[in-house]
Amino acid sequence: MTEPLQPPPKKNPLKRTRVPVSPPGTRSRAATALAVMAAEGRFALQHCADCGRIQYPPRDLCRACLSGALQWRDTDPMGQLVAETAIRATPDTHFRDRLPIRIGTVLLDAGPSLICRLHGDVSGDDRVRVINRIDAAGQAILLALPLKEVPHMQDDPALRALSCDPRHRRVLITDARAPEAPALARALLKAGASRVFLGLPEAWKPFPARSELEDIGNCSIMPLDVTDIDSVRELAAGIGGKTDILINNARFIRPGGALARPDTIFARQELDTGCLGLMRLAQTFGRAMAARGEDGVNNATAWVNILPIGALVPQPGFGLSSATGAAALAISHGMRADMRGSGVRVMNLYTGPMDDEWHQELPPPKVTPSALARAIVSALIAGQEEATAGEIARDLHARWRDDPALAIREALAK
């Protein structure tokens, strides 16, 4: 029986905020490949292309035939618990604060047996489903879940630590004017977020969505212009210490590539918003959040960068957006390293063309505001660090994973 998670008590300002201590983060190259799968929310194991053997822990060669042709493939995650324990003593500082830690041995239907963390509702000789998640060290951790959904399943401490669940957390959406802002706010609140802050650039301009947002409840609209460091600092001074999830959706989009215009005015604006804006947020909110990775029930947990899929596979019709996305992506990866160990995951969410005025001439499928909101919230709950929204982004991401050079050539030929 998982106890429902209670809302956090009011923070006592006299008490020291717990300092984040990373779980063990050193892994071999083969085990790091498991983290690549975990970042995408995939339970994948090494399959030998020559003899078909499935193996775990990750190796450099097949343990059955010594072939080097090992492929990471999605694998049947079902299995049976054959042994369990509750660790009550450990020399490791991270785990010492979380005792007891329940682990077990699961014999997978696919063949290998493995040591994994256990959800609180798993015990005895239960049938289980194993998931592969990113931990606070940015490495893969396997966790066995009950086969059937149980009450308050997400509230289990082991599972919650491997998720970025919005429940009981406060979220900042950096651009209230983006078309997805109302849908996103609604989806977050529905998922249990306790408050949604929305940053409003150029507050003097008319803001038609204001009443819609105000009607939702638990939404606070606050001035924020990511192109102005003073504005970012001012908001961070106010809510930086109570932002548990930050969703950076601020963007400035104009179609076209390098040859589209005789000047760089739009390019400059696009980079100032999409790339330098991210840096300004990182320098303020990022630092505050990294310090709050162990701050109880509503610790800082996720930073989401919404990026065009062109960041990975440049789209010729949106060359400037792709360039801005690629620059922001590089910064995002750097942030992941900077925030590693704090408990805050940095998620890249790649979108296909949005169903908005700037992508009006493109054919469908396009990403609707509600589809983008759903993709963000489900990726947060699944603790992903890499996610996509929409068919086009999913398709291009898969092609990029398979062969980046080919994916880019293909995109240029269209």
């Binding site: 050193t26 324990t85 009550r88 003593a89």
Partner: protein, 390 residues
């Protein structure tokens, strides 16, 4: 498969235990060298008299065996590193015996030991092996306690063994340790104390787990003629076995390599379990003692815990087992844990064990088990040795 050649003309002698301490500022070089000095002194020899060396240690870094030879001023014509953890005593004995038998070395010193500074155990655990670093340490950092808790839980489920059964193994060893002045844990331990102890990793409690410490062990392998001319009490090697990575497809470990190799060992020795006066199992956890009792042929599979619990395992009992108190009470000085059963057995069969001496102990079976690479012990080994009275 042909039977291995007998160990004719080779003996093992001069066992020495450098007294263990819970924490020590001394590095591994100090401990290994101290054990060597003690063994040589017992034999009346100097460092120049040995020309072969086996080294077992986890904490020698950045040195390896040649660096240790330089550190200790040893000139050698035969040098071996034996990194099989808890199986290192028997495996070092096997290597050294063949070297002496073939004339590649005259006298081989076998040494094992480790340093233990504050926090060094944590550092050892987090980089113990690649699979441990990748796939067990990040799961709560329970170290071997957690892995053996899983094995113990699985064993209890599969065979119906109880905590009382395991408690009897631990308490009998403590009774033995109370007669060993060098054991680190010598306080009285009853079954109620065992059952009431705090849990470390369910179902393992405090007294199921060895205490990491600093220390070292050593013995010498030489020709029987040499031992006689030096007037050294010595033991012959009747049969040995060694196996690595047996039964890798068992979902959880409930048997070790002995299960396949023990019948051959008994055939070679020409004797059976009933002819053994003293059993020294590798006792990092009681469940492993039970597993060895089964796999070595003292009882059938699944009966090990109940079998041991039903016997009197103390020094004066009907089934003397781990007469020095074993690692559970003497402490686990890293790789020295793989030697402790063997050095004690040499003392026993040469009637030099002093306060822990088992009456009329002529023949001992020593078993080793080592290297929890991921979710199980990889290395298993065993040796039957006998004194001149056998």
């Amino acid at each position: 498969m042909t039977a291995p050649a007998p160990y004719d003309g080779v003996v093992v002698t001069a066992p020495f235990t450098a007294p263990y301490t819970r924490f020590s500022p001394h590095p591994a070089q100090y401990w290994l060298g101290s054990a060597l000095r003690g063994s040589l002194k017992a034999a009346g020899l100097t460092p120049r008299d040995i020309d072969g060396l086996t080294v077992s240690s986890f904490t020698l870094f950045p040195d390896t065996a040649p660096g240790l030879a330089d550190h200790l001023g040893l000139e050698l014509r035969w040098l071996e590193t034996v990194t099989v953890g808890g199986a290192c005593g028997v495996v070092a004995l096997r290597r050294a015996a063949r070297a002496v038998q073939t004339g590649e070395a005259g006298i081989v010193a076998c040494i094992a030991g480790d340093a233990n500074e504050i926090d060094s155990f944590r550092r050892l655990l987090q980089s113990f092996s690649r699979f441990a670093m990748d796939a067990s340490y990040p799961y709560g950092a329970g170290g071997p306690n957690a892995v053996f808790a899983l094995l113990t839980d699985h064993y209890m489920r599969k065979f119906g063994a109880t905590r009382e059964d395991f408690g009897r193994i631990a308490t009998a060893q403590r009774a033995n340790a109370r007669r060993n002045p060098q054991a680190l844990l010598r306080g009285a331990l009853g079954l109620d104390d065992y059952l009431g102890a705090r849990m470390i990793s369910d179902p393992l409690c405090l007294f199921d787990c060895v205490m990491p410490c600093a220390g070292a062990e050593a013995f010498l392998v030489m020709s029987e003629d040499r031992a006689r001319s030096l007037r050294l009490p010595h033991a012959r090697i009747r049969a040995t076995i060694e196996r690595h990575n047996a039964f890798p497809d068992d979902p959880a470990q409930y048997r070790g390599g002995w299960a396949g190799d023990a019948p051959g060992m008994w055939d070679t020795a020409g004797i059976g379990p009933g002819d053994i006066d003293l059993l020294q199992t590798y006792d990092d956890y009681p469940v492993i003692c039970a597993m060895q009792a089964e796999d070595l042929g003292f009882c059938s599979k699944g009966e090990g815990a109940r079998f041991l619990a039903s016997r009197d395992m103390t020094i004066d009992g009907d089934f003397p087992h781990n007469s020095s108190g074993g690692q559970l009470s003497a402490g686990q000085a890293g790789a020295a844990g793989g030697f402790l059963g063997l050095t004690e057995a040499i003392r026993q069969v040469t009637a030099t064990a002093g306060p822990t001496q088992v009456a009329k102990a002529a023949r001992a079976l020593v078993s080793g088990f080592g290297m929890v690479n991921y979710d199980r012990g990889i290395c298993s080994a065993a040796a039957i040795i006998e004194g001149e009275s056998a």
